[in-house]
């Protein structure tokens, strides 16, 4: 290898620095603002670092400090929304991964009538945007009384993310060698036993990628919960913009709430980056 000239290396590092600044500065600013006291927001000139860090916004969010916004108890709404976000995203992830694992096994290993048509029909719905079905879904959920219920929102998330996770899981199963399964078969193991004791453990990276993509998708959803769970089952994404009222925008609360809403995806990206990237690549080539 010839050594790269120093001026080019400097240029590359400068470019990467700009790229990192562009990607991370808004995230830094969210976290920094969330610990800046409200009075400091109007300081001129603006401080790039909080001068007197405070946890007042977080205390108001979780209820250690009394907080009302537009006559509504902030802490109560926030705790419920955080809980709702976790429950619906986690439930959607578990169901989505489970359904697609079961079906991917059937599509990859078993013969039955209409198999290929069904597989391509499900995968093809990836190209169909959610809004093409959202109005009839709304009428369906009203008719069955599932507005503002965990079940309704979770099932909509599952139906939205199933095609991608089925596509990813089928790809994982197609790439697995069959020798292990055949050996287990000889020993008299049934399909479910093979699926959960042999296939699931060795396809753990694929399962993880599928799970991360589904979780991030559900966690960030806005339109679906805005329409289907506007009150009791309201998640963080619907709650946070509500702190911006008509006359007054409580940026302290928004930034603290926003920080909590972005911490979860940040941790997933930092620790499971490798699986995430592989999932993104497999999913984008559809």
């Amino acid at each position: 290898m010839t050594r790269t000239p120093i001026y080019i290396r400097i240029a590359v590092w400068a470019g990467v620095a700009v790229l990192l600044l562009w990607s991370l500065a808004p995230i830094y600013w969210t976290l920094a603002s969330s610990i800046t006291p409200t009075v400091e927001f109007s300081d001129k000139p603006l401080h790039l670092f909080p001068q007197m860090p405070t946890s007042e916004h977080y205390q108001r969010l979780v209820g250690l400090m009394d907080g009302h916004f537009g006559g509504v108890d902030v802490a109560q709404g926030f705790r419920l929304a955080l809980f709702n976000s976790i429950v619906t995203s986690a439930a959607a992830t578990v169901l989505c991964v489970l359904f697609s694992l079961l079906a991917a096994y059937a599509f990859a290993r078993l013969e039955f009538w209409g198999r290929d048509i069904l597989f391509y029909a499900v995968v093809a719905t990836m190209a169909i945007p959610g809004y093409a079905v959202i109005i009839p879904l709304f009428r369906l959920m009203v008719a069955t009384g599932q507005i503002d219920s965990y079940l309704g929102v979770t099932l909509i998330y599952v139906s939205a993310f199933l095609p991608l996770s089925l596509w990813l899981m089928k790809g994982v199963l197609d790439a697995l060698p069959r020798s292990l399964e055949e050996a287990a078969r000889m020993d008299g193991a049934g399909h479910l036993r093979i699926l959960f004791w042999i296939i699931a453990p060795i396809s753990a990276p694929g399962l993880t990628a599928t799970a991360i993509l589904t979780f991030l998708g559900a966690w960030g959803q806005y339109v679906v919960p805005l329409i289907f769970s506007p009150k009791q089952a309201k998640p963080l994404t619907v709650l946070i913009p509500e702190f911006a009222g008509k006359n007054f925008v409580d940026y302290g609360l928004i930034m603290a709430g926003g920080s909590i809403a972005i911490v979860v995806p940040c941790l997933l990206v930092i620790f499971l980056n490798r699986y995430l990237i592989s999932g993104l690549l497999a999913g984008s080539g559809k």
Partner: protein, 305 residues
């Protein structure tokens, strides 16, 4: 193959086959029910109801033929939001492609810390769209906003500058947020293609005395062309689906409204369900056509290579 010629082993295979078929159907049943109930049935319903008048505020659902579709052509708000969506798509796809390729090329030059740089770069994509929206709203805000403060510090007169008072500037600001969120996908796709180029090609070019720019133009670009097309398809579809950033930053403003917000308002604020359905079906079709166009282009170019 006739039944009479079947040997005992084939017969037993068939019995196993039937049991396998039953298992297969049972295993796909959860997907079949979810997709059938929540995607295929509503999709058919969208198509059917768009030919009727469906409005919870009005009794009955009479058949109206193509009336809902005709209405679109005379609807000034729909026309405006189509134009806006078109502008968003052009600006976002252009920015994401150009800067995305540049960023991928930069990351590809790194020999240390590439994994961490990539993780940092992917972060904006992983965050909820509305949260990105409110964060940038805070950055753009006239008084205590970061953007104005930095511009003032750099010596420009941007104190209390209003970014959302003017349509062009508002749409640019919304596009910036969208690009911030979606460019990581372009970077990841293009970078993966760059990494799969064998380094011998560059070695050989270097022997021949090729310059860096020449190598990028003659080796890298042709070999990442299909990846760029895939990235552009994704970018187009997601700019088409712009909603979260626009509604947080500019609310329902007609001047900056993309087509999806138009559908949302039509269906869930005015309760013109069937008109909303007709609109959403047209948007779906156009989005499918664009994706198909890209796919066909990729196929053609890859066949030529």
């Amino acid at each position: 193959m006739s039944v009479t010629s079947a040997t005992p082993t084939q017969q037993s295979y068939r019995i196993g086959g039937r049991a396998d078929a039953v298992t297969g159907v049972l295993l796909v049943l959860p997907i079949l029910l979810t997709m059938g109930g929540l995607v295929f049935y509503p999709l058919a319903s969208t198509a059917w109801d768009s030919l009727h008048r469906v409005n919870p505020m009005q009794p009955g659902t009479p058949f109206v033929g193509l009336k809902n579709y005709m209405k679109m052509f005379g609807d000034a708000e729909v026309g405006r939001s189509w134009l806006n969506t078109l502008e968003y798509v052009v600006m976002a796809v252009l920015a994401e492609t150009v800067f995305g390729i540049l960023a991928a090329a930069l990351i590809n030059q790194l020999d240390r810390g590439r994994r961490w740089v990539l993780a940092a770069v992917v972060l904006p994509w992983a965050l909820p769209g509305v949260v990105s929206g409110v964060v940038w709203q805070w950055i753009y805000s006239p008084g205590p906003g970061l953007l104005n403060a930095l511009l003032v510090r750099a010596g420009f007169d941007f104190d209390a500058h209003l970014w959302f008072n003017d349509t062009t500037s508002a749409m640019l600001c919304i596009t910036v947020v969208h690009v911030w969120r979606m460019m990581p996908l372009t970077i990841v796709i293009v970078l993966a293609a760059m990494q799969s180029i064998p380094s011998e090609l560059y070695e050989a070019a270097r022997m021949d005395g090729a310059s860096r720019a020449g190598m990028f133009r003659l080796i890298t670009l042709p070999l990442i062309r299909s990846a760029i097309a895939v990235a552009m398809t994704n970018a187009t579809v997601s700019a088409f689906n712009l909603f979260d950033e626009a509604i947080v930053l500019a609310h329902n403003s007609v001047e900056t409204r993309p087509i999806l917000i138009q559908i949302y308002l039509e269906a869930f604020k005015k309760f013109n369900f069937s008109y909303g359905m007709a609109l959403s079906l047209v948007v779906t079709l156009i989005s499918l056509l664009i994706s198909l166009g890209y796919v066909l282009r990729i196929q053609r170019t890859t066949r030529l290579e």
